[in-house]
Symmetry: C3
Subunit: 139 residues, 3 copies
Amino acid sequence: MWFQKGITLKPRPRGFHLVTNEILAMLPEIHGMKIGMMNIFIKHTSASLTINANAAPDVRVDFESYFNHAVPEDEPYYLHLDEGSDDMPAHLKASILGCSLNIPIANGYPNLGTWQGIYLCEHRNHGGSREVLVTINGE
Amino acid sequence: MWFQKGITLKPRPRGFHLVTNEILAMLPEIHGMKIGMMNIFIKHTSASLTINANAAPDVRVDFESYFNHAVPEDEPYYLHLDEGSDDMPAHLKASILGCSLNIPIANGYPNLGTWQGIYLCEHRNHGGSREVLVTINGE
Amino acid sequence: MWFQKGITLKPRPRGFHLVTNEILAMLPEIHGMKIGMMNIFIKHTSASLTINANAAPDVRVDFESYFNHAVPEDEPYYLHLDEGSDDMPAHLKASILGCSLNIPIANGYPNLGTWQGIYLCEHRNHGGSREVLVTINGE
């Protein structure tokens, strides 16, 4: 069985945001699947998706701080400057973290670990709403 | 055809460990598939999976050294400190490398390149055993 | 329906190269699919694949500059030296960016965002031609 649905995530400030429940609430179709895979694909190049700790909120603050240090704005060697200081770092962060999550489905639920949650990683200062496409295949 | 199996990887020291044979030995079901995909998903946020060089062991030592430099412990801006100096870097490394591998299956085998192997990346000092879930789909 | 095809990408200089059209031109089979997933897997450990901005070419130049700063050659702690200064950084970059892309298919086309393109990331000075395996599943 195949299923595909577009989801619009509301605009969020720059940073890392836990969106597990927001996404899964849109996907009641999963509950009928015994085994399968779910792909969540973000259709942008300056925001990304990752899976990480779903409890302590300070982890997500540290993610933002770390990536701002690891991928600085205004590096003297950047050529692509015309969309603002936050743009080129946003592209780089998006590729380091990735745009496509693949999560197994087991007995009607995404089989995440106890401490795993889905992060929307907003790398722009004003990224606006973000489009994700969810594709599910299973039996 | 769908197939899903949980595998417990034994505790390993912090570092990068080649686990290709350990994982594939648990998956004889692959051999009946002509075309398919295998997903290997680690259900943790402080360990990760990647594919890299399967020969020279010093490559794996250099992975550990590099990531310790690139994602340092005890950065002054870290807020999430209560699980030890190795914890926040472990979360960051886990998202940089990823928790979910997708490998094509061809003629009964994972179609890895000659020099490709599967690494378990243990980012904690004492991470304990690690749970992975393998989901296979093919014909 | 399953479909699998090997594609040889011609040798390219070290850097980030837009290969969306080159890959998709080899895959007319996609056009018959209503919903599906496409996996593109590069069978090497010193080159990688990512999805990022498909317009301004200076973004790709900045990718090369950034990753050369973030993953330097000739770090004093590297042990794996016998394949040249560009080799160990190439392995590290390959794992940071990844070897396996998963792209949804909708109504006969890969459902990339407007600004998304597929990059071949060539991390070696003289990497030669690169083998990718495309696996498609859908209905």
